[in-house]
């Protein structure tokens, strides 16, 4: 059993009916506990006239109200610092974290108990084991270990599995590359952007990553981990298989992971979550194969129960049979496809940064890029993709520039993109979530 490809064979291969039954039992218990112990959830359920006793089978969950980030933030504003969502007293907590947030927005503050942390790290074990990480691996984390929850759970997860962990804390990028090389790390955990940055640094330092010990790169923190062109680039530059995972501070851990078969999507950890996919406008569930918004109910976090939380992540759910690994957990094809509120409206055309990245990463000549929006002549939206050219690709750049502009336009209803070459090293680099959109328009396009 120790050589099982599954971390938890019993539930990872449970029949779909068995899984649905288990989810219904857990969901009912989560709702009952949330109603009894969290004033926030009791208020929400009372307003929606939905008592926990109404949940008898999986399908009944759709009768319960959504939880939104806005309502969560509002309750933290009304009752500082943690709002009235907690189901346990703050004294039960052993750790405090914040959402990574964006400039000017109030972050969400979260507390987790000892039990919560066992569960948080356990979810990472599903992912690591599923992607082939084993106790004899040496696992490097490109992570600053701050208040952003990020890879904290992953760190504990691989320690639990028995791996040797290499934390890099506030090390510089060159020193991180040296540590990976010297300690013969076999697994590297980073955001997709930073995995590419480390590879670039390794080239500058003369470190041969593809010829080195790294055999797995575990990606998280950005949708790019499931963009085929980005993943291909990471795999080529590291000489290792790259696997995507995705999580969020609101749930404290990952809820999906890519298995070793690399099926072009990520398995949802369905014995610990219910993941619904809804039409963001109507709130109704969409069928397999249709894009919609992720809505998550968690069975793990006790301090902060999460019921039908609207994540704003865009996904396409497909049946587990799309993968040959034997897990009965359904998949999100292509991972997280973007954010409902990430959409840019440029002269009437919808532009998703992830879709732009998928095209740009087809071009090996582009090292780093930025999407820049500006207002021309005081009225007209203009969109440009600023590119740093990879050394050795300068001569062919004029042709690449034309071809990339054509590709971008063709995939965006003819919208004209300007492709601009910028000086090497002039664009920002990111260790955590990359922010590659610079919107300098006077009036920004509506997001929905």
């Amino acid at each position: 059993m120790a050589d099982s490809p599954y971390w938890n064979p019993k539930t990872e291969t449970l029949s779909r009916d068995g899984l649905r039954g288990l989810q219904a039992r857990k969901a009912r218990a989560v709702l009952e506990r949330a109603y009894a112990k969290s004033p926030f959830h009791r208020r929400l359920m009372d307003q929606g006239k939905a008592k926990p006793s109404r949940l008898r089978r999986y399908e009944d969950l759709a009768r319960f109200p959504f939880t939104t980030r806005e309502a969560w933030m509002e309750c933290q504003r009304q009752t500082p610092m943690f709002g009235d969502m907690l189901a346990q007293p703050p004294e039960d907590a052993v750790r405090y974290h914040l959402t990574s947030g964006t400039t000017g927005r109030t972050p969400l503050r979260v507390l987790d108990s000892r039990l919560d942390w066992k569960w948080i790290s356990e979810m990472w074990c599903y992912g690591f084991h599923g992607f082939g990480v084993r106790p004899n691996d040496v696992v490097f984390f490109a992570f600053s270990y701050g208040t952003f929850i990020g890879f904290w759970g992953a760190h504990y997860g691989v320690e639990k599995m028995g791996c040797l962990v290499l934390p890099s804390g506030n090390m510089t990028t060159p020193n991180r590359v040296r540590l990976i090389d010297e300690m013969k790390a076999t697994v590297v955990c980073a955001t997709p952007t930073y995995a590419l940055r480390l590879a670039q640094e390794a080239r500058d330092l003369g470190v041969d990553l593809p010829g080195g010990a790294v055999r797995r790169v575990i990606l998280s923190g950005e949708p790019a981990g499931s963009i085929p062109a980005t993943k291909k680039m990471i795999e080529a530059q590291w000489g290792a298989m790259a696997g995507d995972t995705a999580g969020m501070t609101e749930i404290g851990t990952i809820m999906m992971f890519e298995c070793e078969r690399q099926p072009g999507g990520t398995h949802v950890i369905e014995d610990h979550f219910i993941e619904e996919v809804i039409d963001p406008k109507t709130g109704k569930e969409v069928p397999y194969g249709e894009q919609g918004e992720r809505v998550v109910t968690s069975f793990g976090r006790g301090m902060i129960p999460l019921v039908r939380y609207r994540t704003r992540d865009l996904v396409v759910k497909v049946p587990h049979t799309k993968c040959t690994c034997g897990r009965t957990f359904d998949l999100y094809e292509g991972g997280i496809l973007g954010r409902v509120d990430d959409m840019l409206l440029v002269r009437g055309t919808n532009v998703y940064p992830r879709a732009v990245e998928a095209i740009v990463r087809e071009y090996a000549a582009v090292d780093e890029f930025q999407i820049h929006l500006a207002t021309a002549e005081g009225i007209r939206d203009e969109i440009a993709v600023r590119c740093e050219v990879r050394p050795g690709h300068e001569a062919g750049w004029p042709q690449t520039e034309r071809s990339l502009a054509d590709d971008l336009a063709r995939n965006h209803e003819g919208l004209a993109f300007r492709v601009e070459k910028v000086a090497t090293g002039s664009l920002p680099r990111f260790e955590l979530k990359a922010r590659r959109v610079k919107d300098d328009r006077i009036v920004k396009g509506a997001s929905t």
Binding site: N8, K10, T11, L14, G18, G21, L22, R25, K26, A29, R33, K37, Q88, D92, S113, R114, L115, W117, K118, W119, E122, D271, F299, G302
Partner: protein
């Protein structure tokens, strides 16, 4: 004894559940020194995760304590 999926528990699953319950009972003993309390709490949390993963029981021991 059945698990949450309706299957009969295996012999080792029943032993895991017994070990978990026995730790819970141990925690209730009076006058335990801090080192013992912390160690038992840690052990309960670890075994709770196993019990939860195997769908033997689904509960929150930190709720039981209060």
């Amino acid at each position: 004894m059945k698990d949450l999926t309706g299957r009969e528990m295996t012999a080792s699953e029943r032993r895991i559940l017994r070990a978990y319950r026995s730790l819970e009972a141990l925690r209730e003993e009076p006058d335990l020194p801090p080192t013992v309390v912390a160690g038992i709490e840690e052990a309960i949390a670890s075994l709770w995760q196993v019990v939860n993963n195997l769908a033997l029981r689904y509960e929150r021991p930190d709720d039981v304590r209060r």
